[in-house]
């Protein structure tokens, strides 16, 4: 695929040029515009409350993550036994029965990604607040990854949904969702909102003199 390089000499951001750009459609407007003339969406040079929203949703996400790990995700009842399974319990069981691949998927989606996201979003918000940095490219990459990967944490919620729909076999076996399923879904939604509230242009405003 061919890529076309075009740009003003020395790279100017719309903000530096005293202009306001629409993040939805790319249209550039003169200072003072509040609505995009191309896509009619609201426009702002920078989302100044961005970080407040990011922190608020992030904290909500972390709080919801706690019950999601303490309480059971699945309530299984068979003829002989009743059992409750937490997120980690489910991973351990899959691992125990030799389903290493699937166990890894669930572990990564339910534990590694959420925790990694908490750390990554918090780190990005702190670095934006700190000011100049040389690592804008890495930070932007991190933002991209976080934004892309966050939704995938939802896997375990869907596993619970399918299992509890499928396994309703009267007395032989029934599976029902536990309270952790809801807390976990909320945690994922909150952290997604946190990532979406982040205005990535704030990262690039901090590009330090060391970077060209």
């Amino acid at each position: 695929m061919e890529s076309t390089r075009s740009g003003l000499p020395g790279l100017t951001s719309a903000r530096q040029a005293g202009l306001i750009a629409c993040r939805r459609c790319g249209q550039v407007h003169a200072a003072g515009a509040v609505r995009c003339k191309r896509c009619h969406g609201p426009i702002r040079s920078r989302d100044t409350e961005s970080l407040q929203k990011v922190w608020a949703w992030l904290i909500a996400g972390i709080i919801a993550f706690i019950p999601a790990n303490i309480y059971p995700m699945l309530l299984t009842a068979t003829l002989l036994s009743r059992s409750e399974q937490t997120i980690i319990g489910g991973v351990v069981e899959l691992f125990h029965y030799g389903n290493y691949g699937i166990a890894t998927i669930v572990f990564v989606a339910s534990i590694v990604i959420p925790v990694g996201k908490f750390i990554a979003i918090g780190y990005l918000a702190i670095t934006v607040q700190r000011g100049r940095t040389r690592h804008v490219h890495q930070h932007h990459k991190l933002y991209d990854v976080v934004e892309f990967i966050g939704r995938w944490s939802m896997i375990d919620v869907f596993v619970v949904a399918i299992l509890s729909a499928l396994v309703q076999l009267n007395t032989v076996a029934t599976i029902n969702p536990g309270i952790a399923a809801l807390s976990f879904a909320l945690s994922v939604v909150f952290t997604m909102l946190s990532a979406l509230a982040f205005d990535p242009r704030l990262i690039w405003d901090n590009e330090g003199p060391a970077d060209a």
Binding site: T4, L11, C22, V28, F158
Partner: protein
């Protein structure tokens, strides 16, 4: 430094860097020189492709909802599950909020996105003026993108199948394959064109 006319500029949605918009060769792609985000794509038939894939996806979605999804057999007991009943599984007591969320993520939002896309750019493809609210409809398609989770649901289903193999025999129904096809089409459709390009096409069609 004097700037070119504002309509000749586009700004990167990620890093706000200004670029001068040039005509791209067919199949070409313009990326931000600073952060690498894709700004514009030039594929002459992309709009038509997007609409036809979206129509196909709506049909598959209807099939995926109405046909049996998975069958389970265990010690003489039998249960047939459709995608809808997977959603309704939470439908007792405190499970209701979760039932609503799952329904939104796997059925309502994906379907809304597809219909909004058809509404927004369908008329352009057949050479008509865009309908009222086409901008709102396309904005909705873009905004809902992270919240439509059909592909994640399918990974969840695979995990569930592995977990269940010990207890029971599971048979895969036609809706399962409809859903898989739907997911592949949706992923492909989301990559076909940059959203700046669609906005520009919509804007030009409104002015014509």
């Amino acid at each position: 430094m004097s700037l070119p006319p504002l309509d000749d500029l586009i700004a990167c949605p990620h890093c706000d860097t200004l670029h001068i918009e040039l005509d791209l060769p067919h199949g070409g792609q313009a990326c931000c020189v600073r952060c690498g985000a894709v700004l514009m794509t030039e594929r002459p038939r992309a709009l038509a492709q997007m609409v036809s894939f979206a129509v196909a996806a709506v049909i598959l979605m209807i099939a995926a909802i109405s046909f049996p999804f998975l069958d389970i057999d265990a010690q003489g007991f039998h249960n047939e599950t459709s995608v809808l009943s997977a959603v309704m599984a939470f439908n007792q007591g405190r499970g209701i909020p979760l039932a609503i969320a799952v329904a939104l993520f796997i059925i309502v939002l994906p379907l809304t996105r597809l219909l909004a896309l058809i509404y927004a750019i369908g008329p352009l493809v057949v050479g008509h003026r865009p309908r009222r609210g086409a901008r709102v409809a396309f904005a909705l398609t873009e905004q809902l993108r992270p919240w439509a989770m059909a592909e994640i649901f399918m990974v969840g289903v695979s995990v569930a199948l592995v977990k269940i193999t010990g207890i029971a025999t599971v048979t895969i129904g036609p809706a399962f394959w409809a859903f898989i096809t739907l997911v592949i089409i949706t992923i492909f459709n989301d990559r076909i064109m940059s959203r700046y390009t669609v906005w520009k096409a919509l804007d030009l069609a409104y002015r014509a």
